[in-house]
Every structure is written in C-alpha cells, then in structure tokens.
Subunit: 138 residues, 2 copies
C-alpha cells in the first residue's frame, strides 16, 4: 500500500507533509526519530511534524518504538492496527553503535500475568540492544 492509499483508508486529508513523511516511513528500514525525519527533508516545520506523528499514531499507522534512548522513535504499524488499537506486540532492537532502531516482528514480547504483586500489567515492552548487522560487517 502506498502513502496515498493509507491516508485515504484512515480518512486523513492528503497533504504534502503527510505524503512525504509517510513515504519516508514506508521506505525506511529502521524506526525514525523526529530529527531523523527533520533532516531527511530540507525544510519541514518541527511543530507540524510533532502533530503529524501524533495523528499517524492515533490512526494506527505508525507506532512508537521505545528503545531506551530518551528520544521516541516511530515505525510503520502492522496491518492489523487501527484507530486507537495497536497490535505491535514485538521487540525492538537498538544498535549501540550506530543508534538505529529496528522492529523485530518475530520476537514477541513476553507474556506476563495480568496481575503481579497487586499491580495490573496492561502492556509489556521489550528492548534488545547490541550491535546491528550493518555495524558488524564493518
């Protein structure tokens, strides 16, 4: 599915910024931070970007990839995600050498009892960190 189809399916207007950002996500192999996106385009407004990402996340187009750095990154959702319902229950790998973060769809988050020590667990996040394939080859 291309960026225009995705926007249509989510009922979003097809603006320049959205098409550009979404196209970048589709072709990108790794999760993108705000500054990654910012530097991919010569002039794009930071504030618009924040709002664009928030909209995409709400609509189930992209999901946050927590990687242990203090900067949120985002990656394309799996097909089953929709508005307010994400199913991105997989680990994320963070390379300590180049800083890139990628989705590991084949590594599911561990299943944890719903109640633990009197705490209710609603969500689990699994981060793997180490050295990525590209960095190892060098």
């Amino acid at each position: 599915m291309n960026s225009i189809q995705i926007l249509e399916q989510s009922g979003l207007s097809k603006t320049e910024v959205r098409k550009k950002v979404l196209a970048l996500f589709i072709e990108s192999q790794s999760a993108l931070s705000l500054s990654d996106i910012e530097s991919a385009f010569s002039k794009i407004d930071r504030i618009t970007l924040y709002r664009t990402l928030k909209t995409f996340e709400t609509k189930g187009i992209i999901h946050k990839a927590v990687d242990g750095t203090n900067h949120p990154k985002y990656a394309m959702c799996e097909a089953s995600c929709s508005e307010h319902k994400h199913h991105d229950n997989h680990a994320h790998f963070h390379c300590l050498s180049c800083g890139k973060t990628v989705c590991f769809e084949q590594v599911a988050n561990p299943s944890i009892p719903e109640v633990l020590n009197g705490y209710t667990v609603e969500e689990t996040t699994l981060i793997l960190s180490g050295t990525c394939k590209d960095c190892l080859e060098e």
Copy 2:
C-alpha cells in the same frame, strides 16, 4: 548499609550532596528521575545532580530504570553491582496513572539468543506498564 558506608565502599568522598541524594535513594520505594530528586530538596544544583547520578551509576550504586518515558530514572542497585559491572537484570514496572516506576526484581529479563538475524544482542530491557498497587486502591 547507610549512605556513608556506601560512599566509603565505593571510594567516593563524603560530600553533602552525595549523602543527601543517596539517602533519598535508600528510603525511596520507587525509581527517581532528575526532577524527582530536584524537588525533594529545596535548593540543589541541577548540574551537580547530573554529575552525581553519573558517578553513582559508574560506581555501581544506582542503575538506570528505563520505563518508556523520555526521562531516565534511577534506582538502587543490587548488592552484587560494582564499578562498571551492573547485574540489574530485572523488569521495571511503570504506572500509567501516577507515573511512578519501581523495580520488579522477581521478574527477570527474558533470555535471548546472543545472535539473532545477524544482530548480536548484548542486553535486554523489559518494561511492564499498567496501574500500580497504590493507584488501584484509590
């Protein structure tokens, strides 16, 4: 062990800031962010705090508790941690209601193959999020 004993054992000088901050960590049930510590004391310099936390982390006194927020938190290490060698291989629980983060020492991080898809995994981080005991009781 009290704060002075810990400082002595790590070979750190016993300054006011270090004693105060360390005492706060010892009595605290949850992981502390920089601003948590800042607001616990009326006047304490932010920059000194950054350096104090870094020193403590290097010496194996406290460890970073990644909780999916964009603000690092810290908690006391287990006894076996020492300079440059941490063994805090446990999950952290993050309450989505009050924002607090606590160590779940009894939930170990999952063991992952050392090599996966051509990536070498050096470390795993597990975050559980939901509602904590205190918030549930209200």
